[in-house]
């Protein structure tokens, strides 16, 4: 079954995000990218985010990625950066690409909300992680202030 516009679930939105990026490096970067896609570009992720040290954080997103790795749809790599810091990166496996290809049509990518997702990623991928963190934090702070 190929998905129609408007039927996107968190699963498909996340897989499209990872596929469009090719590879995403850093768990913090993944968290903030998904948050900003929703808050700034209207991508309809339904995940719950809470305020945390590095800004908004979603346990659900973290669990989803862990389970996609355990199901063999996403690959996780752990590597050491020059200063000894460990970084995790994620990309789709062949099984993940195959699954996504069977679910999301080429036409769906050209229409909202997937078109918004692709446009958002074009902007966000250029930003360093600390800018993503600061932007996500400021948006969350605004939301918290509004709600209080």
């Amino acid at each position: 079954m190929v998905i129609e516009v408007g039927e996107q679930t968190d699963l498909l939105l996340l897989l499209v995000t990872i596929r469009e990026l090719g590879e995403i490096s850093g768990r913090t970067r993944l968290q903030k990218t998904v948050y900003l896609l929703r808050e700034r570009f209207g991508v309809p992720f339904k995940l719950k985010f809470k305020p945390y040290y590095y800004g908004p954080y979603s346990d659900e997103l973290s669990d989803m990625v862990e389970n996609l790795v355990a199901l063999g749809l996403v690959e996780e790599h752990r590597r050491y950066l020059a200063d000894g810091v460990v970084e995790y990166s994620y990309k789709l496996t062949d099984a993940g690409s195959g699954f996504l290809g069977s679910q999301v049509s080429v036409e769906a990518i050209r229409k909202p909300p997937l078109a918004n997702l692709v446009k958002g990623l074009r902007e966000l991928r250029e930003l360093p992680t600390n800018v993503l963190v600061a932007t996500a934090k400021s948006i969350l702070t605004g939301i918290v202030l509004q709600s209080t």
Binding site: P51, Y52, Y53, L71, F99
Partner: protein
């Protein structure tokens, strides 16, 4: 009239594990008291008055949360929680919150705020570090059950608990309690003890909580309860009427299920006489790279216990039909071997942002999450079924659920 902390594991694999959930609840409450008192003292001396005052103000709430955190679970925990959630229309978390609100109001006379206790347990408190004391990567629940359970099953796992508590901190800005986290000091002692703690956690899951015979018994009882409730209105009432459900204990459940003819009676007899279904098939899904239908992935995405149970029950039914077996003669199970949640360590970079234990420790960083797909077959099958047959049909089912 006991609820054993290890449920069916105490009947099948660890007959010496006769400790109760109540003893664990008391232990968790006591550890909450110890940790919170210690943290408030340390933070006060370290010039972080808001964190210290917040902990002191919530000491009684956190002790009550420790005492009551498991109160919504039925006997045998998830084995009974799943059918009860279907029949009551409530999760164990919702049942727990209702019990606390309706049965423990008198704690308000002892410095406890019931609404705060419920928010702490459910993770809805404005200050998430309070929830992490009860339910987080290094919570007092795990500190109690890992040492208590390992002692009772005869695994002599140990670490210096009292000394470890001195390594705890509330990390983050003292003026922004909403984004603070429970974590550890950046010392060799803290990191090494945390590594031992995580390895004990992993060891207990591999060797005790997911041990195969007990797991098979749990799945048999789960299927037996569901089958029994369809056949017997008295049994169904025990799980669908909340006042009766709240009074259940281990042997009451086994006795009641064992009185229903057919699979329920057979299953309970087999559990009691150690004549269980046999493991017939097991694969690690990350290695096998099957094709999945979207519904399968969606149902496993958050690995919510009830959703996963729904999937395994439905797969079991489909497999029995495919292989021409009676209902419940083949049971499909999905078991997750988890990665530990990230443990925060007080950091020194990026304006004192925390570090994570798995980034500092190759031992912890190497632990991977795995999902196993398993099948158990009844010892008295009408015909022989090979592992290849099971895999062929399971593969088909996984692919076609879309």
């Amino acid at each position: 009239m006991l609820i054993r902390q290890l449920g069916l594991k105490a009947y099948v694999d660890f007959p010496g594990a006769i400790h109760t959930r109540f003893s664990h609840a008391l232990g968790t409450m006591q550890l909450a008291r110890k940790l919170v008192t210690l943290l408030a003292d340390v933070l006060s001396k370290a010039g972080q008055p808001n964190k210290a005052a917040n902990l002191e103000a919530n000491l009684n709430n956190l002790m009550a949360a420790g005492l009551l955190h498991d109160i919504g679970h039925g006997p045998f925990s998830h084995v009974v929680d799943y059918p009860a959630s279907k029949l009551l229309g409530k999760t164990h978390g919702e049942v727990g919150a209702e019990i606390i609100a309706t049965e423990f109001g008198r704690l308000e006379h002892h410095g406890v705020t019931i609404s705060s206790v419920i928010n702490i347990i459910k993770g809805q408190h404005a200050h998430p570090f309070l929830h992490e004391i009860i339910d987080g990567p290094i919570d007092v629940d795990k500190l109690d059950y890992l040492l208590r359970d390992s002692h009772h099953v005869g695994l002599r796992y140990h670490f210096d608990l009292d000394q470890f508590l001195y390594d705890y901190l509330v990390l983050g800005n003292d003026d922004a309690l909403q984004s603070c986290a429970l974590g550890l000091t950046d010392t060799l002692h803290a990191r090494t003890t945390a590594e031992i703690f995580v390895l004990i956690w992993k060891g207990m899951y591999d060797l005790v909580y997911h041990i195969e015979d007990s797991r098979i018994a749990e799945k048999m009882l789960e299927h037996a309860i569901l089958a029994g409730c369809k056949k017997d209105t008295k049994l169904k009432a025990m799980f669908s009427e909340e006042t009766r459900y709240r009074k259940l204990y281990d042997d009451m459940v086994l006795d009641a299920v064992g009185k229903v003819n057919g699979f329920p009676e057979d299953a309970v007899e087999r559990i009691r006489t150690d004549n269980l279904c046999r493991p017939a098939f097991s694969i690690d899904l990350s290695q096998r790279r099957y094709s999945y239908g979207r519904r399968v992935i969606e149902s496993l995405l958050k690995f919510d216990e009830n959703e996963v149970a729904d999937t395994s029950i439905e797969l079991s039914k489909a497999m029995c039909k495919e292989l021409d077996l009676k209902a419940d003669q083949l049971i499909v199970d999905l078991v997750k071997s988890r990665k530990p949640k990230s443990i925060h360590i007080k950091g020194d970079r990026l304006q004192d942002q925390p570090k994570y234990l798995e980034d500092e420790s190759d031992v912890i960083g190497a632990i991977e999450s795995k999902i196993y797909l398993k099948a158990y077959i009844h010892p008295a099958l009408p015909h022989k079924i090979s592992e290849n047959d099971i895999e062929k049909h399971l593969k088909k089912e996984l692919e076609t659920w879309s």
